[in-house]
């Protein structure tokens, strides 16, 4: 194992782990992905303000709840990264289970929301609103699902004492960054897609 470290860290000019830098670059790039999606939605809202009235459909309570859930999952994620750095594998596992659990609740809410909306007649091909809304929130949902999947596999991997702070802290941290990013994207979506529709 020591040889892997030797390779991975042989001479990092900036002492930032490769994986971590990679993840941050990916997140920078992901800003453009979500930027495109969100701006497409906003543009069509601006062009056709009358096309669809989302306030009739959206439930702010539900969305606020899932926003809250996601924020708290982020908190737990921060704790588990911290735990990993301290080498407290047990605490790490506890927190990650929390994150996964919250992530699943969020996904559940989204599935419920989608099902409800479709039932109420908002489908992918309902004007531009349906298209942009579902693709945007759906892409976000897929990000959450991938995150959950990632954390679950990490949880399993950590079971047999496979994880060691000096070796795997960076892996956990990378997953954590990803998870937080998904959270901040939702912070933006919550405001510009949901909240501002409700301003009186």
């Amino acid at each position: 194992m020591s040889q892997e470290v030797a390779h991975d860290d042989s001479h990092h000019n900036l002492m930032v782990k490769n994986k971590k830098l990679l993840m941050w670059l990916f997140l920078g790039s992901d800003c453009m992905f979500f930027g495109t999606l969100i701006s497409t939605h906003l543009i069509y809202r601006k062009l056709y303000p009358e096309e669809f009235d989302p306030t009739l459909l959206f439930s702010l309570e539900l969305t606020s709840f899932s926003t809250f859930i996601l924020l708290m999952s982020s908190f737990l994620m921060a704790l588990s990264v911290s735990a990993m750095h301290k080498g407290e594998i047990k605490s790490f596992r506890r927190n990650v289970i929390g994150v996964i659990f919250f992530g699943l609740i969020f996904l559940g809410c989204q599935v419920y929301e989608f099902a409800h909306f479709v039932h109420e007649g908002l489908t992918l091909s309902t004007g531009t609103f349906g298209s942009t809304f579902y693709l945007m929130t759906g892409t976000h949902g897929v990000h959450v699902a991938i995150g959950v999947f990632w954390l679950i596999s990490m949880l399993f991997y950590s079971k047999g004492g496979n994880m060691e702070a000096h070796k795997n802290a960076v892996d956990v941290e990378t997953a954590g960054l990803y998870w937080h990013f998904v959270d901040i994207v939702w912070i933006v979506i919550f405001t510009v897609v949901y909240l501002i529709e409700f301003i009186a």
Partner: protein, 660 residues
Amino acid sequence: MTTDTTIISNPKQNTDISELKPELSDIGLVRPDHSKNVFIDWLTTVDHKKIGLMYGTLALFFLLVGGLEALVIRTQLAVPENDLISAQRYNQLFTMHGTTMIFLAIMPLNAAFFNFLVPLQIGARDVAFPRINAFSLWAFVAGALVVNFGWILQALEAFGLFSASGPTAGMNDFVPAMGWFGYAPITGKEFTGAGTDFWIMGLQILGVASISASFNFIVTIINMRAPGVKMMRLPVFTWMTLIVSLLIIFAFPAITIALAQLMFDRVFGTNFFSVAGGGQPILWQHLFWIFGHPEVYILVLPAMGIVSEVLPTFARKPLFGYAIVVFSGAVIGFLGFAVWSHHMFTTGLGKIATAAFSLLTMAIAVPTGVKIFNWVGTLWGGKIRFHAPMIFALGFVWMFMMGGFSGIMHSSAPADAQQQDSYFVIAHFHYVAIGGILLAIVSGIYYWLPKMIGRMWQGKLNIWVGILTVVGLNITFFPMHFLGLLGMPRRTHTYLSGFGWETYNLVCTIGSYILAFGVLLLLVDIIRCFRSKIPAGNDPWDARTLEWATSSPPKVYNFAQTPIVNARDAFWADKYGPLDRKMGMVDESHGIHMPSQSWMPLIASFGFIPLGLGMSLMQAGVPYAGYTAILGLVILVLGIALWAIEGPGGYHLHPNKQSH
């Protein structure tokens, strides 16, 4: 450390590696390392040099394909009202010509140089993530296959063996025919058939390849530099690689999402760009060019990097104004994000927006001019040696400048109203593409191929390549300026006589054959170089940068001992500089750690093929295509999962002692 002290002179080195025992990966499979089978070795390689060579070979192949398509286009246009090929075939040809040249020829040619050179120039053993690098290569292959797959169906269709049913029934265009920027709504399923789907899926896959490769290069350049290789000591080519990689990761997402939206429009009936449901086709144009304009700088900055290496070497002077050249490269890159609408001057942007984009576009001339001036400054006071790489580099400066000037003519929006979508645009970007990028790439090939394969060029064929390409490109594309200004629109499969276009077109066509002959001779010369008996030696050109310090071709581990760099033109300083500027060596007595080879990148990326083909064939009504797509997704996910589980592995080499 000077030229001949690369320490690696153990002739038994290669055999040593292959005598290493195969190891087991974390999932218990035998790693494909040190395979005696050449094919397995290349398919599973994670060596950036081999990956670079494969990129280069494939890209040259696609350059031929794209060039052949161009020749058919030119032949069709040689005389008015020609009916050599049908309108549909012509439209497919220019679409595929543009797509092939940009995504399958020039970008991978650049990638070939990135791969081969960047780790060498920064004194690294490999890129930061060798397996991701392999994945990028094979994803590129998968994407190229998907984009071009339609030709097979089109051939079948021509013989009456296949026709579309299902969602695109009745539309038998299996090769895309909507232009390389695929303006909505002609990409909608009311107007075009499965060709568009192949194009969407293919570009999507190519995008994944480019983005993942770029992450890799950025991390490599930031993190893997040898001691002493400060950022401001990086060779300019490496700098340009860094900037281009950043451009890629920030520009490609726009087209990735746009393509996804388009795909949803076609497959799931959404309304992003379909007018009936309220979609605005103009949005596609914005999203495309938000990607598309940075893309043209993605194409040209590596070329500028190449030239910035070649000119100093053959003028025997350092690059004039290194810092400012680097800085202007960055400015070009980031200004490139602020000018996209200059491709849309005729779409009714409104006065303010038109004015803003017009001025911002002009602003790009300043940093570009800085580069030109600094190249001239580099030559000034030098001792210019006219070897083959230099000839093409000098040609680049001249021809690129001409292409840049027609760019400035475009940037004046009212003038552009007469030029947009005419042959004037074609002239503009072929000057920058061929006079610029291609000449620079040829220069790069002449410069670095000896390093890559360890053999030296022979004969004087390069003179003819130079004459024929430069003369050919001018004869082909110079008259196109006039064609455009005399009113000939682009993308027209034929034209009436009597508009004063006949002579020009004929001249263009003749020129294109001259140019093609030049390219053909280049290939001949390359083959001759491969068969050459003259060893290149480590440093055939008396060059300046680190890659020339190691052997030609470099060993798997690049440098037997990681160099410690003390100057900008590290190798030059080592050869001619004062003592305190010479290179040192890192003590690596514990041996060199090499990454293990792996099947997983190959497997994962080949999942893209059934995925891409399945999604597209579904649109053409082929049964079970949907399942094929799902299968592809499964392969992809499985490949990545196994990749994660198998672990990076690795083994140690002791170049100057015995391997363990």
